[in-house]
Structure formats: C-alpha cells, structure tokens
Subunit: 130 residues, 2 copies
C-alpha cells in the first residue's frame, strides 16, 4: 500500500491518512486481515508525529474498519456488510452533489463521474455469487 501526505494541504494530516486507508480498502488493496504499518513507522516515513498517525488509526477503529491491538498492530476488519448507508453519509453526499449542480454541471455528468469513480475501485472486488 502506498500512502502519501501533503503537509501543506488544507486537509488535516490525520484525515488524509484516514481517507487513504479507506480508499485502499474500497479498492481492495487492503482486505480483511491486511496489516497496517505500526504508527511510529508510518509517522517516521511521513516525517510527522506518531500521535498524528495514532489519531487516524483511532478514527478508523471508531468507524469499525480496523482492529487495533498491542504488540500485534492494526489490521483491517471484515467489511461489515452494513447494507445500509448511514444518514450522515447521505447528507454529506447531498451537499457534495449539490455543489456540482449549483456550479452548472448537469446531473447526468455528475452521475457519470460518480459511476467512473465507483467502477475504478469496483473490479477488484469479485462478489461471491454462490
């Protein structure tokens, strides 16, 4: 897994780390049981404080995406088959989609863009259809 942080971006570092792990899981680059690097190692790689990485991992644990344990480290948990989108996700999506439409992009093109993004991390996940 390749992670990058942009120290001068306006997105908080811990959020960038969290987002990239989420995307790696969506892509299938990280699957159930995949280990994440130790906080101190990742922090050293990025040249940031390990507390910052810790915060990202803590977020991911709260979201149920990884499991943390001492000595062992962080591993990705099973995709919980939530089946249901949390209401706050829908609210954030509404805002984001509205932003594009408000700028004059046609709903059709917005939807096509979403589809392209979704298929970009779709194929790796061959759904078990038994």
């Amino acid at each position: 897994m390749i992670l990058n942080v942009d120290l001068s971006a306006d997105v908080p570092i811990y959020q960038q780390i969290r987002d990239q792990v989420v995307e790696a899981i969506a892509h299938g680059a990280l699957t159930e049981g995949s280990p994440l690097p130790p906080t101190r190692t990742l922090a050293a790689d990025f040249g940031v404080n390990f507390h910052t990485v810790n915060k990202a991992y803590d977020l991911l644990r709260q979201e149920g995406l990884i499991r943390l344990s001492r000595g062992t480290g962080a591993v990705v948990t099973a995709a919980a088959t939530d089946q249901v989108l949390p209401s706050d996700w829908t609210a954030r999506a509404r805002t984001l989609l509205a932003e594009a439409v408000a700028r004059g992009i046609s709903p059709d093109e917005v939807l096509r863009t979403c589809q392209t993004l979704l298929t970009s991390f779709g194929p790796a996940k061959q759904e078990d259809t038994r």
Copy 2:
C-alpha cells in the same frame, strides 16, 4: 428559502449556512438574481453572530455563487456553466464514495443513492434546449 442551523452539530455554523445555500441553488429554490437575506437579519433569525453569516457569504462569493454589494446585499449569480468539475471536487467525491464501498455497500447501491439525490434536485431545472 428556509434555512436552519444546528448549533450543537459538529459541522461549523458558517459551513451549514453555506451548504444550505448551495443546496437551495441546486434545487432551483434560488436562481440567478435571487436575493439572500442581509447578514444581520439572518444572524438574528438564527441567534448567531453576524460575523458568522458574513463568513458563509464570503465563502459563497469566493466560490462564485453569489455577488455581494453594499446597500444592495447578496444576490445569486448565474450558474457559470463551468462544464468542468474541479479536481478537488473529484477528490472529495472519491473519498466519500470509497467510504461507502469500504463499509460493504455495493457500488451499485451507492450509485443508485447518488442518482436519487441528483434527481431530487434535478426536475426544477428545465434545461433550455433551443
């Protein structure tokens, strides 16, 4: 236009105001030339400081969605027919969509949800097809 702010939400007040204006524009509830309430009026309605509303309006101006002038107030500008989604929008969309997929929601269902949201503010905008 009906705006609401939740003072106890974890989303900043100025961001909530900005988001709701964006959604109103996307819905067509606000169109080119529609006036927004004066900052002090809106602030009084919400029970917040007028500097907070000011910040939201300033954001909307930076995004090119409204025009501000003294004495006259804030009015919605023409949908600029950008035609192109800014790259940072795509990045935010990627993160949001990945979040759903990482939680085990199927890409198909995510796309359907996006489509539903988009059509919810689509119909008001009868595109001029001459």
